[in-house]
Amino acid sequence: MIGFTKKRKIWYIISAVIIVLGLISMAVRGFNLGIDFTGGSIIQVRFAQAVEVNEIREIVEQQVAQSPSIQSTDDNSFNIRTSEMTETGNQSIIQALEAEFGEVEIIKSDLIGPVVGRELLRNAQLALGIALILMLVYISIRFKLNYALSAVLALCHDVLVLLSVFSFFQFEVGGTFIAAVLTVVGYSINNTIVVFDRVRENMKKAKAKEDFSDVIDASISQTLARSINTVLAVLFVLFALFLFGGETTKVFALALIVGNFAGFYSSLLLAGSMLLDITNFRNKSKKARPAVS
């Protein structure tokens, strides 16, 4: 039996390091926010002839007095991103591009006003908060409060790791990222629950003298095969989506992949350890209180 909880100081340190690095990155670099949050417009165009990025930039600046951020992708298509835009501004850019370079194919065009971004963020925070609370309640009912606290803390860890990775590597954060975060919340709780389910079962059968940490370690070992296989199963499909799905699902698939790894790690190494520590802590504080006579 592997001493998962015995080595919990190591896991705590590893997680702490990742999260602290992530928090620093969030404070210093922030996120690479897509227009879903910042507002603005992205036009993805393809020209019939070869065009230089600078030529596009000049035309955009002429039309809307803004310096756009332009990304060129393979096959002669360009992502033109500007902040603060009106539809008329968009149209004038497209018309000017057409006048200068002939045929322009508009592959995709998004325009987001400032109001939408704020609402998106607020909705996301609300959704996350409510989901976590509901889970706390459900798990408390089915298991015990200690289990619920550990599980939800493990979830928060997963979300923080996801945010840290995206901030550190500056992957784009938009509406689909929010959906990915909520998905990770809903999905990585599964692993933790399977482990806790086993702990619950083993505790029923356990003798009074058995160490709680041994029971937890045994439970994790017993469910190891299932945990690995399940994570593998989902990763097969997610990786396929990431590698072979189109551009538009890449970020989503990536977020889910990172979230799955984080969830696997936390359900195996963190959740059990926290369950142990939280239970010991609450037992100690119960004993510390003087009995009322």
Binding site: N123, A127, R226, N229
Partner: protein, 404 residues
């Protein structure tokens, strides 16, 4: 017992295979594809009040009506025009040919006014009975695109009175506050007809404006809050790429399951196929629009369906190791796995429901797909996998094949 089980398995396989074959075409036809998979346009508009006045629900219904008229012109199969809150409108045109042009047209106020010298409005577009784009052939060397207008009886009267009054002077036509044409009035026009000529670069421009005039001008000012257009090529591309990715991912998954769990692995793969079929039909039943996040939701539900199978099989393995008979292990393993499967699926369902309530558009599609997927996977795990396992235990009792 053996015979019955054999028949059960055979029957199940035949039913699934037949359902699969007969589902391919209906699925292609009936699945509602979202913008990101089909191309199209989506726009969120907010009605902006004039000064202090508030937007009433009457304003909104008039707005919806005008938009519906305009949208009809695009010939989109299933346009979505939805009021959100008390002053917002969501319009979705999936599969429209030129999404950016479509949104451009939707956004135009299209208020037509005939004004005299002093700027007094004589008659407006609200009093038009018809507007048609035409090509003016009277001067063969100079063919122009024009719109011929026909007023209602009321409008015709107003127009007639005005032209009678203004003989020898000019009358101007303004569109959205800008004067687009000025003509001198040579005589009173009593037949209620007029035309806007010239100024249209292409016939399509004239036709577009004529369509707007027919549909009516917007009753309120609108502001575009957000807009998203996906060209048809990107839509097609995304669809084919995601399907390809799904097939590859699932293929690897299927092989893995058979390699690791052997006979139960085969059962798991078959139950996955059943799960996918049920899920797709559920989605068609509920009329869920399939979007890219929706495909991801589909993928995740497959993962959860596999998970249920894995939980069951690991339990069965444990029971076998503990020395129980094959049949006994299957029953015990199933019973014990059930609580685990329920607990983990319900927590994911909670997250999916929250996502549905707080999400918008394509994210809601994802949440619905995930929720339906959980329901479907619970069914296939609890009913189908159990039946298949029991039946196969009757036929094949070599415990090695079950992972012992």
């Amino acid at each position: 017992m053996k015979g019955k089980s054999g028949i059960k398995i055979l029957l199940a396989l035949i039913v699934i295979a037949v359902a699969l074959v007969f589902s391919v075409n209906p699925i292609k036809d009936k699945t509602n594809l979202g913008l990101d998979l089909q191309g199209g346009a989506q726009v969120v508009l907010e009605a902006v009040p004039d000064g202090d006045e508030e937007i009433t629900s009457e304003d909104m219904s008039k707005l919806v009506e005008v938009m519906r008229n305009r949208v009809d012109e695009f010939g989109v199969a299933e346009p979505v025009i939805q009021v959100q809150g008390n002053n917002r409108l969501i319009i979705e045109l999936a599969g429209v040919e030129d999404p950016d042009a479509a949104i451009d047209l939707l956004g135009k106020t299209a208020r037509l006014e005939f004004v005299d010298l002093n700027g007094q409005v004589v008659v407006t577009g609200a009093e038009l009975k018809n507007a048609q784009a035409q090509i003016d052939n009277t001067q063969p060397e100079n063919r122009r695109n024009q719109i011929s207008l026909e007023f209602t009886t009321e409008g015709a009267k107003k127009f007639g009175d005005a032209t009678a009054r203004l003989v020898g002077q000019t009358i101007s036509i303004s569109l959205d506050g800008e004067i687009i044409q000025t003509a001198s009035v040579s005589e009173a026009i009593m037949n209620g007809q007029a035309s806007i000529s010239g100024g249209f670069a292409t016939f399509q421009d004239a036709a577009n404006l004529a369509a707007l005039l027919r549909g009516g001008s917007l009753p309120v000012n609108i502001e575009i809050l957000s807009k998203s257009t996906v060209g048809p090529s990107l839509g097609q591309d995304s669809l084919s790429k995601s399907i390809r990715a799904l097939i590859i991912g699932l293929g690897v998954l299927f092989i893995f399951m058979i390699a690791y769990y052997r006979l139960p692995g085969v059962i798991a793969d078959i139950s996955l196929v059943l799960h996918a079929l049920i899920l797709i039909w559920l989605m068609i039943l509920v009329n869920v629009t399939l979007t890219l996040p929706g495909i991801a939701g589909f993928v995740l539900s497959m993962g959860m369906a596999v998970d249920s199978n894995i939980i069951i099989y690991e339990r069965i393995k444990e029971e076998l190791k503990a020395g129980k008979s094959l049949r006994g292990s299957i029953e015990a393993g199933f019973k014990r796995a059930l609580t685990t499967i329920l607990d983990s699926n319900i927590t994911t369902l909670i997250a999916a429901i929250v996502l549905f309530i707080f999400g918008t558009g394509s994210i809601q599609g994802f949440a619905v797909t995930l929720s339906l997927g959980i329901i479907s996977s619970l069914f296939t795990a609890i009913v189908f996998t159990r039946m298949m396992l029991r039946s196969s235990a009757d036929l094949v009792s070599n415990t090695k094949l079950y992972g012992a």
